[in-house]
């Protein structure tokens, strides 16, 4: 029987190709879309996978995330103002390893006559190890530094005509050049291939930041908390939130474990991946309808032949099997071709559009299975139609 089916493909190449085109395209789109989806997922996972899963951020205002530490934003509240008192409270929470407050603002950086807007980040130098920054040239800030700055790699090398090096003088303008401070660059950071929350900018001490801003009360705009046990990070976030609520009762602030945000992002990406596969499946189903149509035509065309086969002893079952096998083989061949083409397409799209893509075994199995099953299902109706033909009527057909 199989032989006979193969032979009928050979004899009817154009029919086979035309009917399988829809399936091929369907499988190609499933493979390509799944691989791009998987690539996005994998890419994000890789980018953030080595991100510190033991970190919690504490920010004033109502957060955008929906982490467990979020407070309901139903009543308009004043954003909380965090200072050293809060740092101490957090530091005292059981399970907290380190606390480092940050203050970020935009300034105009002037270097040898060129001006560029950059972020300036106030830090506590004692905890600089934990900020995951590596110094390429010079040194990092120390607690005794005052008018000293460390600049990130991109600012040092890309923003100005001349590179900024340790020992150079830079000027930071606040409020449209009204007020400024001069800083001595003591270090340049290494290029960060994996930009995270605080890589690009000029790092100065909180004390220098306070003087630069010249405000009455100096508040941190985020506090990074590192947990002792990454597995307990979410529980710790709740603990921190609870302790802070004692002095910030009616104020808005947001405590969020990075891992929570990361997980929900992965979840969304996973959903996107399957939504993309769903779109691919639609084209596969359209392809299956095409197969069904072409097979109906084939059955009509071969009515006489089916009559002959019945006359020489083929049972209803034989004919049905024959045409289902025909459909299944067509599905298998088209799916394999579709997988190969889909691989090429996703490679091509990936490299041209510069998006990550990854053809996984899972997507291949999915494409193959779906292609074969859908095609065979599409063949059921025509195969039944063929099998139920009355042999005498069929023999009369020409």
């Amino acid at each position: 029987m199989l032989e006979y089916v193969l032979l009928s493909f050979k004899a009817d190449r154009r029919r086979a190709l035309m009917s399988s085109l829809g399936i091929i395209i369907g499988v190609v789109s499933i493979i390509a879309l799944l691989s791009v989806g998987q690539g996005l997922y994998g890419g994000v996972n890789e980018q953030f996978g080595d991100l510190d899963m033991d970190l919690i951020t504490v920010r004033p205002g109502s957060g955008m995330g929906m982490g467990p530490g979020d407070r309901p934003a139903s009543t308009p509240e004043e954003p909380a103002e965090f200072d050293d008192k809060d740092v101490k409270i957090i530091d005292n929470v059981l399970g907290v390893k380190d606390v480092y407050p940050l203050k970020t603002t935009r300034v105009l950086l002037s270097f040898r006559g060129d001006n560029t807007s950059v972020s300036v980040i106030g830090i506590s130098p004692e905890e600089h190890d934990d900020l995951k920054v590596v110094v390429a040239r010079g040194r990092f800030l120390t607690g005794s530094d005052y008018k000293a700055a460390v600049v990130s790699h991109d600012i040092a090398e890309d923003f100005f005509r001349m590179d900024i090096s340790p020992g150079n003088q830079i000027r930071l303008y606040i409020d449209e050049e009204d007020r400024y401070s001069d800083f001595k660059v003591v270090g340049v950071l290494e290029e960060d291939e994996d930009p995270t929350y605080a890589s690009s900018g000029v790092y100065i001490t909180h004390k220098a930041m306070d003087d630069l801003l010249d405000v009455e009360e100096y508040h941190y705009d985020s506090i990074i908390v590192r947990a002792e046990d990454p597995a307990q990070v979410e529980a710790l976030a709740e603990e921190v939130e609870k302790d802070l609520s004692r002095i910030h009762r009616d104020e808005a602030y947001n405590v969020e474990a990075l891992s929570t945000r990361f997980e929900s992002m992965l979840e969304v990406l996973n959903m996107i991946k399957y939504a993309l596969a769903g779109i691919g499946s639609i084209s596969l189903i359209v392809g299956a309808i095409g197969i069904s149509n072409v097979m109906m035509l084939t059955v009509k065309e071969r009515t006489h032949e089916i009559g002959v086969m019945k006359a020489i002893g083929a049972t209803t079952w034989d004919i049905r099997t024959l045409y289902l096998l025909d459909a299944g083989m067509l599905g298998l061949a088209s799916s394999l071709l579709g997988i190969a083409l889909g691989w090429l397409v996703s490679d091509f799209v990936g490299s041209v559009a510069n998006i990550p893509q990854e053809v996984t075994l899972q997507s291949i199995v999915f494409g193959l299975l779906f292609g074969v099953v859908i095609t065979t299902v599409a063949g059921i109706y025509p195969a039944n139609k063929a099998a139920m033909l009355d042999p005498i009527e069929a023999l009369r057909a020409e």
């Binding site: 029987m1 032989e3 006979y4 032979l7 009928s8 004899a11 009817d12 006489h304 032949e305 009559g307 002959v308 086969m309 019945k310 006359a311 020489i312 002893g313 083929a314 049972t315 209803t316 079952w317 034989d318 042999p391 005498i392 023999l395």
Partner: protein
């Protein structure tokens, strides 16, 4: 026991509201090894009788025993098995499959029977050689003359070594020379022991027949030897 025993066979078709009788009580026995010519004017029911004998159709009434088995009591599956193993069809219009080779056409009944590949290929080759077409194995039937096609059809009919050959006007589409060739093959098959039941219009082709059955208006009118 006769090979074929037909008694009180009636067959009618529904055309709209009307029941149109085609066979109206056929009584006929055919012994093993006979060469029976079935004759009669168009529309007398010859083909319907052949279809019932060939297990392609079922009687409306009456009994048709083939080797003692009542055809009207058999399942579709059993009828298909009889068509496959006990009956060889030869049609007026050959009914070969044009998109496969002659060899595969002859193999087809054995393919359906699930005969092993080598065995069926050998047998098909042998059969085609026996009808003088050993040099046309890989040709398509569409590249053959009418006489050659009918010889392929005969080879196919013999594939599963059936005891009965049902031939429905096997020479109806052939020229004189081909007709003679085909009838010679039929005669040899009969001599070889096969029972042949042949519908024909051409009295010339009946000279080797052991019996002639004349039909008229759905009934057997006369049997001559």
């Amino acid at each position: 026991m006769s090979l074929v025993e037909i008694s009180g066979l009636e067959k009618s078709y529904r055309v709209g509201e009307m029941e149109v009788p085609v066979l109206k009580g056929i009584e006929l026995e055919i012994e093993e090894g006979e060469f029976v010519a079935l004759m009669g004017p168009s529309g007398c029911g010859k083909s319907t009788l052949m279809n019932i004998l060939g297990c392609l159709d079922r009687p409306s009434k009456g009994r048709v025993l083939l080797k003692g088995r009542d055809l009207s009591r058999l399942s579709d599956r059993d009828l298909a098995r009889i068509r496959r193993e006990e009956i060889g069809f030869v049609f007026q219009s050959f009914n070969l499959i044009g998109r496969i080779s002659n060899l595969m056409n002859v193999e087809l009944p054995m393919t359906i029977k699930e005969t092993a590949r080598n065995a069926r290929s050998d047998r098909a080759r042998e059969l085609l050689e026996s009808v003088g077409l050993g040099h046309r194995l890989d040709y398509s039937p569409s590249n053959l003359s009418g006489g050659e096609r009918q010889r392929v059809a005969i080879a196919r009919a013999l594939a599963n070594d059936p005891s009965i050959i049902l031939a429905d006007e096997p020479t109806g589409n052939l020229d004189e020379r081909s007709t003679t060739e085909i009838m010679e093959i039929m005669y040899e098959l009969n001599v070889g022991g096969r029972t042949i039941i042949m519908v024909t219009h051409d009295v010339e082709t009946t000279k080797d027949c052991s019996r002639m059955v004349w039909m008229r208006d759905g009934m057997v009118q006369e049997v001559t030897s």
